[in-house]
Symmetry: C2
Subunit: 194 residues, 2 copies
């Protein structure tokens, strides 16, 4: 048990990660409201003092979890996207959506990102996070499809938001109905073709 010597950066990152990991587990399992900081800190192996040293309050920790979850989500989707060879812009939208749905087959992720986050994080801040991750890709996809003339010429941001809403709702569907949802989404998107 030597090697007790750690740089501040290491200590810092270590406990931050432990806190975020424990928080992600508990928020995913019990939801934001039912998660209490004593249990959370204990699960992370630190005291509440450490939590409040690193995060302003419970909500700030939740925001950190949401950011990380968004980043992981984007990672999974991009990985799936690169496996595909370049299809047309409409197919790209549909396949991107499928990748999103696949990455959303995790009830904790759904709970955090789709159920709790909108209620806990104020609108503007959450929009900003969304804009940096998933929605950015979707926006580019829609923009490309419109510019290529592959789909009807519609305001890009609203259309991207609406497609996002479709995928979010489908992600919350019972898994045995997912196929039907995907079929309906495909029909909706294909219906936009020029």
């Amino acid at each position: 048990m030597q090697e007790g010597r750690k740089t501040q950066e290491e200590r810092r990152e270590g406990t931050r990660r432990a806190l975020i990991a424990a928080a992600r587990r508990q928020f995913a399992e019990n939801g934001y409201a039912a998660t209490n900081t004593p249990a959370l800190a204990a699960a992370a192996g630190v005291t509440r003092g450490a939590l409040y040293h690193h995060f302003a309050d419970k909500q700030a920790l939740f925001e950190a979890v949401v950011e990380e979850e968004h980043a992981l989500l984007a990672l999974a989707i991009n990985a799936a996207a690169e496996a595909e060879d370049e299809p047309g812009p409409v197919r790209a939208l549909i396949e991107g959506g499928d990748a999103y749905l696949a990455a959303m087959q995790d009830s904790g992720r759904r709970r955090i990102l789709l159920i709790d986050a909108p209620a806990v994080i104020e609108r503007e801040k959450l929009d900003a996070i969304n804009a940096r991750f998933g929605l950015k890709t979707l926006l580019e996809g829609v923009g490309a499809a419109v510019e290529a003339g592959a789909i009807r010429d519609l305001p890009v941001m609203p259309l991207a938001q609406l497609l996002d809403a479709l995928f979010d709702r489908a992600a919350l569907a019972p898994s045995d109905e997912l196929g039907d949802y995907r079929k309906a989404i495909k029909a909706l998107i294909r219906g936009l073709k020029t």
Copy 2:
């Protein structure tokens, strides 16, 4: 100050309504989490004892507010629907959606129904409420459109859910972009036509 004599039913309904009215105001203004029962009871002109006599807990009161809000919403939409003369099933969907968006131009209503309710009320119970109100109408509309052969033959429930998601997202849009959202929704629905 006579006429202090009330039947139990009157007392009961009186304080229940006072509580629900005060709760609707505070939930709408501050959100569920930031609403506390001492202030709520005071605003209703009763004590917390009365609140907990009529409702099991804070969440039960919130559920009562959500039910009432859904009922009012359905009322507004039906009123708008009866003003229209019978159009085709696709137009009916679009106009029903417009009525929904109009009825949703109330930030408190959005906060309660679209932001807080999904986080506070467990999925099954909220689905049940939804099914009894707004979604029921939408489901009928989609079913009619499919049966009439006006739109593509797709699984009805998933499609209704997806259209519902579209309108929910549009309802949360900045009001100056509402026109663009409506245009995009129209295009999406029209794209389903056979």
